[in-house]
């Protein structure tokens, strides 16, 4: 039997009660005995509702609520904030402990369970905020909500702490066993200085080098980029890697310029990096440290970042433009590309996803799409770049389709700096 102020399906207290109670509980919090908030939103709940109807959806919610309460119900107070969103208030719970609890809750949620003879794999996004001294408890609740939204935007199935850049570390990040192994090796690689940048040239249709893309590599051959980058993204280590790459790429551009080769260097910027409040300062710091002309730096951002209307991302986009660096849209055409949005994107380059190139030239429909994007890009004032070019036939098809710039193994593999300089000598320093 639930109390009257409880919501019947979950037994959790109603949203309105949360707003009153958090104020009361906040009065008992001190720096030594902080009040922690975990905001949980189930991922892809809409699909459960669509597949099993509202009754199935309610059963799903009830099941998860039961698990959450069973795992932690004595000291915590639970509230249902929306159809698929819950809040857990934890009195006297510090940062580390809250993160441990959040990781336990996420594991609990992610345990598969059967419904209508199907095995469902639930997942959730968790946001954590801990009441700061003198903070309005409702503002703190909002921070937890925002952190949850950040977790959701990053793909769900993760925990995000509010007020914190995803600082590299092993705290409170839920990882599978093999990912933990990769994370440990990555930490070791960072401590030993085993990471480096390799550079891949981008050529125009006359074979002139127009830029280089900087790509992260690890001396530990067991750590390939396709393995360590997803783990780095999941753990927040990508911020540290990205900052390091930003500085090193900028220094490389400066070294090149100092030898009379002012060729721009493109550096990948991750979502985690670009959604931090300090990105602008870090960019300026890297440019200052490298003493490089900002025009020689290109930042490659995924399309979804350009479309992100959050204040932080928009401020970072403005700051990057103000700093004088060039922007390009990376991996265009694979995500939720929306042509209507393309007109609003202020980028100098548009990089076609390699998936289009692989299909060339046999797939006539792919050829048609590439042609259309090349023309569209040109008319919007952007240069169009195709990645992943592996043979002459693909190159010819791309030129035929009107693509300005190409990059791929056919021209050159990504190379460390010394090999690249030798390649440039051989290739001819034409820019």
């Amino acid at each position: 039997m639930h109390p009257p102020e409880a919501e019947p399906i979950t037994g959790f207290l109603k949203r309105s009660v949360c707003f009153d109670e958090i104020t009361q509980r906040a009065t008992l919090a001190t720096p030594e005995h902080p009040l922690a908030i975990i905001w949980i939103a189930l991922d892809r709940f809409k699909r459960v509702n669509e597949s099993f109807g509202h009754q199935g959806g309610d059963a799903y919610i009830a099941q998860i609520a039961q698990r959450l309460r069973a795992k932690i119900g004595i000291t915590a107070q639970w509230y249902r904030m929306a159809g698929d969103e819950f809040v857990c208030l934890l009195p006297d719970c510090d940062f580390d402990h809250t993160n441990q609890i959040a990781a336990t809750l996420l594991r609990e949620i992610e345990t598969p369970f059967p419904i209508n003879k199907l095995l469902l794999h639930p997942s959730a996004s968790l946001g954590i905020a801990i009441l700061a001294a003198d903070e309005n408890p409702h503002a703190c609740l909002e921070r937890a909500d925002q952190a949850m939204n950040t977790a959701k935007r990053a793909g769900g199935g993760r925990i995000v702490n509010s007020g914190v850049e995803p600082i590299p570390g092993r705290l409170g990040i839920y990882l599978a066993r093999h990912e933990l192994e990769i994370e440990n090796q990555l930490h070791l690689a960072l401590e030993q200085g085993e990471l480096s940048l390799h550079y891949q040239p981008c050529l125009d249709s006359n074979g002139r080098v127009v830029s280089f893309e900087a790509l992260l590599r690890c001396a530990n051959k067991r750590l390939t980029p396709s393995e360590f980058i997803p783990v780095a993204e999941k753990t927040g280590l990508i911020v540290r890697l990205g900052e390091w790459a930003l500085l090193e790429g900028a220094r490389f551009a400066q070294r090149l310029a100092a030898t009379g080769l002012p060729i721009p260097v493109a550096i990948n910027v991750s979502r985690a990096q670009f959604t931090t409040l300090r990105f602008a300062q870090t960019l300026h710091a890297a440019l200052l440290c490298a003493n490089v002309n900002p025009e020689l730096i290109e930042l490659e951002l995924t399309e979804s970042l350009f479309m992100d209307h959050s204040m932080t991302v928009q401020a970072n986009l403005r700051a990057a433009r103000d700093a004088g660096v060039a922007l390009s849209i990376d991996d265009f055409g694979t995500g939720y590309s929306c042509l209507a949005n393309l007109k609003d994107i202020k980028a100098g380059k548009l990089k076609l996803d390699r998936a289009f190139v692989i299909a060339l030239p046999q797939d006539t429909r792919a050829v048609a799409v590439v042609k259309a994007i090349a023309r569209l890009g040109r008319e919007l004032g952007m240069r169009v770049v195709a990645e992943g070019v592996e043979n002459q036939t693909q190159l010819d098809a791309l030129h035929e389709a009107g693509v300005d710039i190409t990059q791929g193994f056919f021209h050159a593999r990504p190379m460390p700096e010394t090999a690249l300089l030798a390649w440039l000598d051989k290739h001819g320093k034409t820019t």
Partner: protein, 287 residues
């Protein structure tokens, strides 16, 4: 001629304008490479260090210094490496290399000397007030690198000297917020990038980035780790003790951050007075 801010600024600009941020010293790469081996070759490393007389002398001096937490009497680089271990030795060498990596400038001498004293006091305080939860060598390294963004910014932005004066005198706003307004970046971020490019530990680079951040010291809310917070608090206390000892107060940071540092380190005013007496003896002995 009296040094006005403008003339100092001009001199600094001339002496430092050309520097790139210093690259990670090759010797640190060599130590990393040896650390990866099952049986590191101490003789080989000692030989490399011995080839650099100034580096050898500094390493021996640090190893024998009480501030660093190792009360040894070593006479050779090999003995220093054996006593410190490669991990700690690489931190010590990073610290020595860092100062040498910047062109010598009379205007910066006092800055580096103060950094060196803060680093040593931090090493001592780590042992004295954190129940050894913070390692002396970590506190020492942090103390040295904490403000290394300052000389870099001085070299890059002609206006930075004035920004620095303003930030030093402001007793309410966050130090880095004042820099952000003017630059728009700050020495903490620049320093943390340098630390990253030298492959110092995550804890060190994160602590450098946040060392003026009151919320970091106050809160259980925000990572970094407790160790990072200790690093920041211990270095801040060291700076305060040094300023009290020399009777030169260049910053308002203790006004803004001091109470939080003391709360974190569980110290009261009497404890601080006692620490000041001890620090004075140590600093005088050092002189």
């Amino acid at each position: 001629m009296t040094d006005t801010p403008c003339s100092i600024e001009a001199q600094l600009e001339n002496s430092l304008r050309e520097i790139d941020i210093p690259p990670r010293p090759v010797i640190l790469d060599r130590i990393s490479a040896e650390m990866e081996k099952d049986e590191p070759d101490f003789n080989h490393l000692a030989h490399l260090i011995a080839a650099d007389v100034a580096l050898s002398a500094s390493l021996i001096k640090i190893t024998n210094s009480p501030f660093f937490g190792f009360r040894g009497r070593v006479h050779t680089p090999r003995e220093a490496l054996m006593l410190l271990g490669l991990n700690v030795a690489s931190k010590a060498i990073a610290g020595i290399a860092m100062r040498r990596a910047f062109p010598s400038s009379p205007q910066l001498e006092r800055f580096w000397d103060a950094s060196a004293l803060i680093a040593r006091l931090s090493g001592w305080l780590a042992q004295r007030v954190t129940d050894r939860r913070l390692r002396a060598d970590d506190a020492y390294t942090f103390g040295l690198f904490r403000d290394c963004g300052i000389p870099i910014l001085l070299s890059r932005r002609p206006c930075y000297f004035e920004v620095l004066i303003e930030a030093n005198h402001d007793d309410s706003r966050c130090f880095t917020a004042i820099e952000d307004l003017a630059l728009p970046t700050n020495h903490a971020i620049v320093g943390s990038l340098l630390a990253q490019s030298w492959w110092l530990t995550d804890e060190t680079s994160v602590s450098i980035r946040l060392h003026h951040d009151l919320a970091t010291l106050n809160a259980t809310t925000i990572p970094p780790s407790l160790n990072s917070r200790y690093m920041i608090a211990v270095a801040q206390l060291s700076e305060y003790l040094l300023q009290q000892h020399t009777q030169r107060s260049f910053t308002q940071e203790w006004v803004k951050l001091g109470p939080s540092c003391l709360r974190l380190l569980k110290l009261n005013d009497e404890d601080v007075a006692e620490l000041l007496t001890e620090a004075t003896l140590i600093l005088e002995a050092e002189d």
